[in-house]
């Protein structure tokens, strides 16, 4: 239930502005890959191109290939809706649907495209997804209550439950802990560790300790200056990137001597 992603020579544009230049990277299945780098270096932008979420912004487009187990996401006739149902996403700020109950939030993606699901199957799926997101014990007695009544960390785990309920191949996380307190962050990090047994996980983080804690491989993005495109500087095993990077810029960044 997980696939690898291979990106070849990807350029991302906003209108005429080249935001991310020439990224080639292989993301292994059933592993956690972290994207680190300074603000504005294009790592979130690049992450969004992996499930075509960048297309939500007017004028955003890409050149190059993103292969999901060999299938080009940008091939002719590929529907972004299908892409997104296979490559789930968790956002910076927890965003459960405020008008839905906890249960309906988990089922939101499953019920899309007019899919019908029996109540029994739904119950099983809700329990499995919430357990998969380490949230079941906290919410099992209030599944009909609104998701917006949970704490920030619980809401974020609810969003993860919602993402894994549709059984995606890949889960993208865009700074999933940046709005959370340290304890909630720890809960999410533990969860990421469990998720990689089943899913390919890609996480953008500002927190280098977090990248070091949760990821198997780390990619460092950097930007030469304002108005210049972001670039992938290097990618490798997390241990190597943090202890013995091959690029000077990477070493400066991970050791805090940046800029």
């Amino acid at each position: 239930m997980s696939k690898r992603i291979d990106v070849k020579d990807l350029n991302v544009y906003y209108g005429d502005f080249l935001a991310v230049e020439d990224v080639t990277i292989n993301i292994e299945a059933k592993s956690v890959t972290a994207f680190i780098g300074p603000s504005g270096c294009g790592k979130s932008t690049f992450l969004r191109t992996l499930n075509r979420m960048h297309e939500v912004l007017p004028g955003a487009r890409v050149e190059g290939e993103v292969l999901l187990d060999g299938d080009n996401l940008y091939g002719p006739g590929v529907d972004p809706v299908t892409v997104r149902s296979q490559i789930g996403m968790v956002f910076q700020r927890p965003n459960p649907f405020p008008t839905m109950s906890i249960r309906d939030n988990v089922l939101a993606g499953v019920k899309l495209n007019n899919k019908k699901i029996s109540k029994g199957e739904a119950d099983v799926l809700v329990e499995r997804s919430l357990k998969g997101a380490n949230l079941w014990n906290e919410v099992k007695d209030r599944l009909e209550k609104p998701g917006s009544g949970l704490s920030g960390g619980q809401q974020q785990r609810l969003c993860i439950a919602r993402a894994i309920a549709v059984e995606p191949q890949v889960i993208l996380m865009d700074e999933p802990c940046s709005a959370l307190d340290p304890i909630s962050t720890l809960a999410i990090e533990d969860l990421i560790n469990e998720l990689k047994d089943q899913y390919t996980v890609v996480i953008v983080t500002h927190n280098m300790q977090q990248a070091a804690r949760v990821s198997d491989r780390t990619a460092f993005f950097n930007i030469a200056g304002t108005g210049k495109p972001g670039k992938l500087i290097e990618v490798g095993d997390t241990h190597t990137i943090f202890s013995n990077p091959s690029q000077k810029a990477t070493e400066d960044y991970v050791s805090g001597r940046f800029g």
């Binding site: 997104r84 149902s85 956002f91 899309l112 609104p146 009544g149």
Partner: protein, 310 residues
């Protein structure tokens, strides 16, 4: 440097606060006073009609017999207007906010706002002189084919000046209100929730169903209620379009009357008890509008827990 004592009252800085809070309080009280004044005026002026012997009221059967047909007529006209205008308005608003290319959306929004700027007497003239004539073949068809529904009972009015025509004209008049308010609400849907739906693999329509419409629901209700307020109170258009008469179930015969048009048409020549009767009718309209607004509030607050405000 000397420390500022905690007790010093910096008079100049505080004066602004005091003036502002005083002005805000006065404005708030003024609204209540105006509302209360209007209600008081209506009640005091209406008392003679409400207490007069039944035979002296127009129609000779008392105030209640006089008022209830035109209350029903008012509600029918407003209901027709909303049934037609609400889905169209929401559709147009969604098109402007989520489907149209940006440039087209701006132009379209402007045109819709322009509709709201047309005076109601012009809508009335258009309805009476053009729409009524053009639509009467359709009424004949309805009378011939749909007469099993009491609301389409024939014979259809030859002039087309029916309550249905009035309702259609009203729907055009409330359309811009509902559209522009709904559009504003749709545009305020948090990007976060739209992206949440899209990232799950929702199509654009599913995204709208999952995030935009639930978020906008209280706003849509308020917009519809504002439209209803206008439809209930609209006078000129109905007075010009509707060939009024006794209450009838059929929407395509002439007949029926609304409170506002009844007041407008009769007030200039009224005197004595007749004035009082019309003002009492106005009081009833006031109460209906108030009730509609309170019901709308109630609907909105009932779903507060799920509103997204918490």
């Amino acid at each position: 440097m000397t420390a500022t004592p905690l007790t010093s009252n910096q008079g100049a800085a505080r004066a602004g606060d005091k003036i502002f809070s005083g002005a805000a309080l006065a404005a708030g009280c003024l609204i209540l006073a105006v509302l209360f004044g209007v209600a008081l005026f209506l009640v005091v002026q209406a008392i003679p009609a409400l207490t007069a012997p039944a035979a002296e009221i127009q129609g000779g059967e008392g105030f209640f017999a006089y008022i209830w047909p035109i209350v029903i007529g008012t509600l029918i006209a407003a209901a027709i207007a909303l049934v037609i205008a609400t889905p169209i308005s929401i559709g147009v608003a969604l098109f402007i906010s989520h489907f149209a290319p940006r440039r087209l959306a701006a132009g379209l929004g402007y045109v819709v706002d322009l509709l709201a700027a047309i005076p109601s007497v012009i809508y009335g003239a258009w309805g009476a002189a053009f729409l009524a004539k053009e639509i009467s073949p359709a009424y004949n068809w309805l009378a011939a084919n749909m007469a099993w529904l009491p609301i389409f009972q024939g014979p259809a009015s030859a002039t087309g000046k029916t309550i249905l025509t009035a309702g259609i004209v009203l729907s055009v008049m409330v359309l811009p209100i509902i559209t522009s308010l709904s559009r504003e609400i749709f545009l305020q849907t948090p990007k976060l929730h739209e992206e949440a739906a899209l990232a799950l693999g929702a199509t654009r329509w599913e995204m709208i169903k999952m995030s935009v419409l639930p978020f906008a629901r209280p706003g849509i209700i308020s917009a519809v209620m504002l439209g209803l307020g206008r439809a209930l109170g609209e006078t000129m258009a109905v007075a010009l379009v509707l060939s009024s008469g006794a209450l009838t179930a059929s929407l395509i015969q002439s007949g029926n009357q609304t409170i506002a048009a009844e007041i407008a048409l009769n007030f200039p020549e009224a005197s004595g008890l007749k004035v009082s009767t019309l003002i009492a009718a106005g009081l009833v309209l006031f109460v209906i509008t108030l009730a509609v607004n309170m019901i709308a509030r109630w609907i909105i607050t009932r779903h507060k827990e799920f509103s997204g405000a918490n």
